[in-house]
């Protein structure tokens, strides 16, 4: 009797250990696959080195809109620069991101000054980190990947505390391997904003991705902001373009 109990206890213990080992092995595999998928998503959204145009529309609860147009250059995981082409009052205002460093150049002020990812150079829901989004895989690690309604759901955790959002929930369109929705959370788990990726478009050069990004935020009820992408083109860019010296000349780099 005693022996039987001992054997069954040993059996249960072994099963539990095996289950934990398999599940951890499985989740490790899932995480690895998730991180691989995240890198694919990054490359599907933009080439490693590219130029593009972005229109940003801030929409107020009464329907009033304000539009901004930016010219964007990005290289590798950590370099991005943008400059305003519209409205006229903002022309030449440029932002530079080098990894976690961000600077703003205002033509009248005439010298770059450091800014942070949580500020917004345009006002409204999009902050600097949304406007100057680097590769997701450069800033986040996948900690969990699950299936949900024909989509993959990736739970992402920021690699450092300097990233604007501590956690992301990313729903991935498995056909195009691009995000369909991203929820952005603080470290305490508070939802800050939701990004909705819409209108998949062929931009040429093998780039097929959502062309419209809509956002709303529980912190700004009834306000909305939209980002429309255009003219995404791979481009060879010298590293020196991503320096403070170049911030007043970004507008001249359009081809």
């Amino acid at each position: 009797m005693l022996n039987k109990t001992r054997i069954s206890k040993k059996l249960i213990f072994s099963i539990v250990i095996l289950t934990i080992s398999f599940s951890s092995l499985f989740s490790e595999e899932a995480v690895e696959a998730g991180n691989k998928l995240l890198k694919e998503i990054d490359r599907n959204l933009t080439p490693e080195s590219f130029e593009s145009l972005k229109k940003i529309i801030n929409i107020e609860p009464d329907g009033k809109e304000k539009e901004f147009v930016l010219y964007v250059l990005k290289k590798g995981n950590d370099k991005m620069v943008t400059t305003f082409l519209a409205p006229k009052s903002e022309i030449g205002r440029s932002t530079l991101r080098l990894d976690e460093n961000m600077w703003l150049y205002i033509p009248n002020v005439g010298r770059p000054m450091r800014i942070t990812s949580l500020q917004s150079v345009i006002g409204g829901i999009f902050n600097n980190s949304d406007i100057m989004q680097l590769d997701y895989s450069a800033e986040y690690d996948v900690i969990e990947m699950t299936d949900e309604n024909n989509e993959k759901l990736l739970n992402l955790k920021a690699k450092t505390t300097s990233v604007a959002y501590d956690q992301l929930k990313m729903w991935v369109n498995t056909n195009h391997k691009t995000p369909s929705k991203i929820e952005c959370y603080t470290a305490s788990g508070m939802l800050i904003k939701t990004l909705h990726f819409k209108e998949i478009k062929d931009f040429g050069n093998g780039i097929i991705r959502p062309s419209v990004l809509e956002t709303d935020s529980p912190l700004h009820k009834d306000y909305k902001a939209v980002m429309i992408y255009a003219n995404i083109k791979p481009r060879k860019i010298d590293d020196e373009v991503f320096t403070l010296n170049y911030m007043d000349k970004i507008i001249d780099l359009r081809e």
Partner: protein, 424 residues
């Protein structure tokens, strides 16, 4: 029929939805020429401090006034033309002002007129009249060797440049040193060129080196006048935390001449080596509130005794010795018009973008505290940029201080201004 109406409705809804997010990017294609015109109107209303020494000096034998109004308008044209690797830029401004005493003034300035040649992404050359701004401080930049000092009442205003030749070499690297630049600048001064850059004729060579080392901006500056060392400086800025930036500037200058009044009402000149510095911080709180705090030390500034002597000299000239008036007035216009007259100041500014979900609205308040005489200037600004290409700004400032203090003896005790700026 119902189906047709439904179809028409769906078609119209689809077209609206498609229109809603349309983006005709071809209108943003690069053109060889670009220009913008900036039109500004700014009425200012100043409450005069009738008990101050500077009021008694400036209104000597004139009709007394309680208020001073001025109405200012300006038209600025900024344009450029690009040809191959060359770009020519122009920034001209015409300013018209009308004051309470029926004085019309029209001032035309060339802020910038220069050519730029980009030989490669590493090398570029600029020749002409150009505004160059250096430094990390918000309120003051002692390292701005080639630029004019900013107006503390309008910190972000564009400034007139100097005629110069500037070469830029920039290089990106991987490793601890992320990138660096070397910028030699030549500023000649003659009777007709850059006469307000330095006194007398001179040939000035300025070298600026920038380094981004381990996410820290570091700059070094050297100023040589006629092959002789005149100034050296450095600055740095770094984000200690993502939302917390620190910065500092330091300048050593040889033989800085300070003119000051002694107790016998005679102007004396002393030449001393000076050490100017500024350190400050910028913090962004979770509420999106930004706080800027800076301490600055202007080594060539006057001390409290020298300030008192000057104010006593005004009182003596106005009440007892009118012959002294031209000397006092000359001193005021030449040596008493700097932004920071004394040695030590503390500046703090708090701004809150979009309070109560009011988009494009940024109110801010600031205080500039003179540590040496405990006088202060307190002010604020309401900025609203809701309308396309139109910026509206309301500013106010109030001055407080005891007798013989800097802000207590200013000609005004308060000022409000309204600015309307339209860009087209």
């Amino acid at each position: 029929m119902k189906k047709i109406i439904l179809c028409l409705f769906l078609v119209s809804t689809a077209s609206i939805s498609a229109q809603e997010y349309s983006f005709d990017f071809e209108e943003f294609e690069k053109k060889p020429y670009e220009f913008i015109v900036n039109f500004k109107i700014q009425p200012d209303f100043t409450l005069l401090n009738k008990s101050s020494e500077l009021y008694s000096l400036n209104f000597y034998n004139k009709e007394e006034k309680k208020y001073w109004d001025s109405y200012n308008a300006s038209l600025e044209f900024k344009g450029s033309y690009e040809f191959s690797k060359f770009k020519f830029s122009l920034d001209i401004i015409d300013q018209l002002s009308y004051t309470t005493s029926d004085v019309f003034e029209n001032k035309f300035n060339i802020y910038e007129l220069f050519g730029n040649a980009d030989f490669s992404t590493n090398f570029s050359l600029q020749i002409g009249k150009k505004s160059v701004k250096w430094g990390k401080g918000y309120i003051w930049n002692p390292v701005s060797f080639v630029g004019r000092q900013k107006d503390i009442n309008d910190i972000d205003a564009g400034l007139e440049g100097f005629w110069l030749m500037k070469l830029d070499y920039v290089k990106s690297l991987s490793g601890i040193l992320q990138n660096f630049s070397i910028t030699p600048v030549i500023v000649p001064v003659t009777e007709d060129v850059n006469e307000d850059f330095q006194t007398g004729t001179s040939f000035n060579f300025i070298l600026h080196n920038y380094f981004l080392i381990k996410d820290t901006d570091i700059d070094f500056y050297l100023f040589m006048k006629d092959d002789k060392f005149q100034r050296f400086g450095f600055d740095f800025a770094r984000n200690v935390l993502p939302s917390w930036e620190i910065h500092a500037e330091y300048v050593f200058e040889k033989d800085v001449i300070t003119d000051w009044w002694n107790s016998d009402f005679v102007v004396e000149s002393t030449a001393d080596d000076t050490h100017d510095f500024l350190f400050g911080t910028r913090i962004l709180f979770e509420s999106n509130t930004t706080l800027i705090v800076e301490y600055l030390h202007n080594d060539a500034g006057l001390d409290t005794r020298q300030m008192k002597n000057f104010f006593d000299a005004i009182e003596f000239a106005v009440s007892e010795d009118p012959d002294l008036l031209p000397i006092v007035q000359k001193y005021q216009s030449e040596s008493f018009s700097a932004q920071f007259l004394m040695k030590d100041y503390l500046y703090a500014k708090i701004s809150q973008p979009e309070p109560f979900d009011i988009l494009y609205f940024t109110p801010s308040v600031f205080v500039l505290y003179n540590i040496n005489d405990t006088s202060e200037m307190i002010g604020g600004e309401f900025n609203y940029s809701r309308f396309e290409n139109l910026n509206l700004k309301f500013k106010y400032s109030l001055l407080f201080g005891e007798e013989n203090s800097e802000f207590g003896e200013k000609i005004s005790s308060g000022k409000i201004s309204f600015l309307m700026e339209y860009v087209f």
